[in-house]
């Protein structure tokens, strides 16, 4: 009782502050839009496409956290490996550097290859590094994940070199013109690939038997075990799904940015994790919404008028992370959960 009385006024102050911040943000966005509607809309399309990528990566974080309560630091680096593997497969093994219908087909093949590779890598990591620590104190798997992240970065250096490696895109570099607004075809492709993947994902988790087992394991691992669910296999499957999404995101990143670099995963992974926090860690829809939201915020910050500019991107993104984690750890949809005793 006493705690309820004590927390009540604070909560009110916080929600008032939250409203004020939101209103300011909306006013800012309107101000930015009114000073340059064309640039603003063009930037927005970039943001949507970036956001789709963040959503794909954020899903991997959120699913793993939902099922074993581990922040998988290595997930961002897995995405980086996905882009490097995709680039090597597409350019060096199959020699595709020009845009043509045949190259597009091979790009689809590359995406499947990268997805399979990342799924296998992620399953392997889980089996070797995380499985033994499932009942260890919480610090242990977290530190292990940081270690795995470093190992994957080094693998990236060995495969890609320590400097950024520029690649060629097989997607057309042309733009669609909708009135005064130009939308690059690449961004449309990214969104067009991401949406079916996300729908497939939702279908697997919500409608299939494996998905049901996943949800059960996330809810109560011991009870699921008693119900005859092979928990080890389900957790492994979750890592595979997350890895496949990271692989797809890697190939899309490669096509949009025409570059692979070993340290891409660290920053992007952290941003994707921010997206997962924004939507509520463990919440699949939340991760997608958070990803798109962050993609848009980043694009506005980088390109739209009256924002801070590219040199402040990280500060803006991680400030959102810190503010969210402190004031709304349950995300924009979720409720704050009491720690399990």
């Amino acid at each position: 009782m006493a705690t309820a009385e004590r927390t009540a006024p604070r909560f009110k102050v916080e929600s008032l502050l939250g409203m004020a911040v939101l209103t300011a943000a909306v006013a800012w966005i309107i101000w930015s839009f009114s000073s340059g509607p064309v640039i603003f809309t063009q930037v927005l399309t970039i943001g949507l496409s970036n956001g789709a990528l963040y959503a794909l990566i954020a899903l991997g974080y959120t699913m793993v956290y939902g099922i074993i309560e581990l922040i998988n630091f290595a997930h961002g680096d897995l995405f980086m490996l996905g882009s490097v593997i995709g680039a090597i497969f597409l350019e060096e093994w199959l020699g595709q550097t020009k845009s043509s219908p045949k190259a597009w087909l091979i790009l689809a093949l590359t995406m499947l290859f990268a997805m399979a590779a990342c799924a296998l890598i992620n399953m392997f990591i889980e089996k070797v590094a995380y499985r033994r620590l499932r009942n260890a104190p919480k610090l242990a798997p977290l530190i292990t994940a940081v270690g795995v992240s470093f190992i994957l970065q080094n693998v990236g250096i060995l495969m890609n070199g320590s400097a950024p490696h520029s690649r060629t895109s097989v997607l057309p570099s042309s733009s669609l013109e909708l009135g005064p607004i130009e939308v690059r075809v690449k961004y449309i492709v990214v969104v067009a690939v991401t949406v079916p993947l996300l729908l497939l994902m939702t279908w697997i988790v919500q409608k299939t038997r494996v998905g049901k087992a996943m949800r059960a394991t996330a809810q109560d691992r011991d009870a699921s075990l008693l119900m005859g669910i092979n928990v080890d296999r389900i957790i492994s499957f979750t890592f595979a799904l997350g890895g496949a999404l990271a692989g797809a995101a890697g190939v899309l990143f490669l096509e949009v940015n025409q570059q692979t670099r070993y340290d891409a995963g660290f920053r992007l992974g952290l941003i994707a994790f921010t997206a997962a926090v924004l939507g509520g860690v463990g919440n699949l829809v939340g991760a997608v919404v958070g990803g798109v939201l962050l993609g848009v915020i980043q694009a506005l910050n980088d390109g739209a008028p009256h924002f801070f500019g590219q040199q402040w991107t990280q500060t803006v993104m991680f400030s959102i992370l810190i503010i969210m984690v402190i004031f709304r750890p349950g995300g924009i949809f979720g409720k704050h959960q009491q720690e399990k005793v």
Binding site: V146, S319, I326
Partner: protein, 406 residues
């Protein structure tokens, strides 16, 4: 059975071990004196003196992080923030930076004042020049305040969120300092160009002692080594005293079980904040000293991998063990700065190969973290408590299995 268990959990304070402990400390001091005088005398080879100085600096960092991660059990992945504050304190208070003779742009606002106090710099040089020993105190204070500011809002969080938020701070701060060359027209951090040169360390009245110069010149790593050794020793003493005192026991209670600790009356926030502040002091002092030995402070030196290297040191040595943190810091730093290249060169010479081991640096640190967590989570020199716990666990297990079998 249970009485012996309880007895084992008590700290050992019998006099028989006091002699052993003091002779151990004496042995360590002798080795510490031997290193710069007889072992690490060259600037090349397997143990250059510069690496030895860096090893001692990182040992200090590891001691600081050990308080946060080892004693209080809070995973801090943004320890680089305190290193950064310490180094920039040196840069601001011991260089001509605040008197910008050549502004970037004629329209830039300038600071044009100079302050001199017990400094080794010539009074003709403009800017702020304070004595190194005052700067060290300032750096410790600034880092401690930074620790409180970062800690206050974040320490309410669960352990895994805490790790991420500290990581976020560790990423934001370098960016703020990188962009800090134009704060309302003022240049506060000189951006990516960095600040330098940083003044030398003055030894004050200590130069009456034999072998100690009045000013440590940049190539005099021996005296620098003694200075950083002094800080390490002080911080080790403080760590041990804190660990055995009321605060240390409160930290460990929080580490073992936060809920139980709060029910026993441990004030969670205040205790955690203390661990952050004390840990930050080591980072600040180490950073300030680092700036004076390297001579320039550049924002590109402050990366995430620094935080991980220090974490590796703490984990390798044994979380919660003071000597472990020191040895871990020394081992990891030697490996990072000299060992990797040296061993690689020896291997290549012996086998005629051309492997650049420096390319495998991250993998090395990653494997240290993963393998330690999987196979020896208590570290190579486990803290007394984790040893006792392990033993106690075994005893409890044997009691339980005995009960099942009979």
């Amino acid at each position: 059975m249970f009485t012996s268990l309880v007895e084992r959990m008590q700290p050992t304070t019998d006099n028989g071990r006091t002699f052993a402990r003091y002779s151990g400390i004496l042995a360590v001091l002798v080795v510490a004196w031997l290193i710069p005088n007889y072992i690490a005398t060259s600037t090349e080879g397997p143990l250059p003196l510069f690496t030895v100085v860096l090893c001692a600096v990182y040992a200090l960092f590891a001691l600081g992080l050990n308080i946060v991660v080892g004693f209080a059990g809070l995973l801090d992945l943004g320890y680089v923030a305190f290193f950064l504050f310490g180094a920039y304190t040196s840069a601001w208070l011991m260089s001509d930076f605040f008197y910008q003779v050549n502004p970037r742009d004629p329209s830039d606002k300038q600071f044009s004042f100079s302050v001199h106090f017990l400094s080794t710099a010539s009074s003709k040089i403009a800017g702020i020049h304070l004595s190194f020993w005052i700067v060290i105190i300032a750096a410790a204070a600034i880092a401690a305040v930074a620790g409180l500011v970062i800690g206050a809002p974040t320490l309410r969080l669960k352990s895994d969120y805490l790790a991420l938020v500290t990581l976020g701070f560790g990423e934001i701060l370098p960016e703020v300092f990188r962009n800090g060359d134009n704060v309302a027209g003022y240049n506060l951090t000189n951006g990516t160009k960095g600040i330098g040169p940083v003044d030398r360390i003055g030894m004050g009245f200590l130069d009456k002692l034999p072998g100690i110069p009045s000013t440590i010149v940049s190539s005099d790593y021996k005296t620098k080594y003694y200075v950083i050794l002094l800080f390490c020793a002080l911080f080790m003493y403080a760590s041990i005293k804190l660990r055995d005192g009321r605060l240390g026991r409160a930290w460990m209670a929080i580490r073992e079980d936060e809920l139980a600790a709060s029910l026993m009356g441990v004030p969670l926030m205040r205790t955690k904040l203390w661990s952050y502040a004390v840990g930050a002091i080591a980072g600040g002092v180490g950073g300030a000293f680092y700036a004076t030995i390297v001579g320039t402070v550049n924002v590109d030196n402050f990366t995430f991998s620094f935080s991980i290297i220090v974490l590796c040191a703490v984990i390798l040595g044994g979380m919660g063990n003071v000597w472990g943190a020191v040895l871990g810091g020394v081992a990891i730093t030697w490996f990072n700065y000299t060992g990797l290249v040296y061993i690689g060169a020896q291997v290549n010479k012996g086998l005629g190969t051309h492997i650049n081991l420096k390319n495998y640096e991250f993998m090395f640190f990653g494997f240290v973290l993963v393998l330690m967590m999987l196979f020896r989570p208590e570290g190579f020199i486990p803290a007394a408590r984790s040893k006792q716990l392990k033993k106690a666990d075994k005893q409890v297990q044997s009691i339980e299995t005995a009960g099942v079998e009979s």
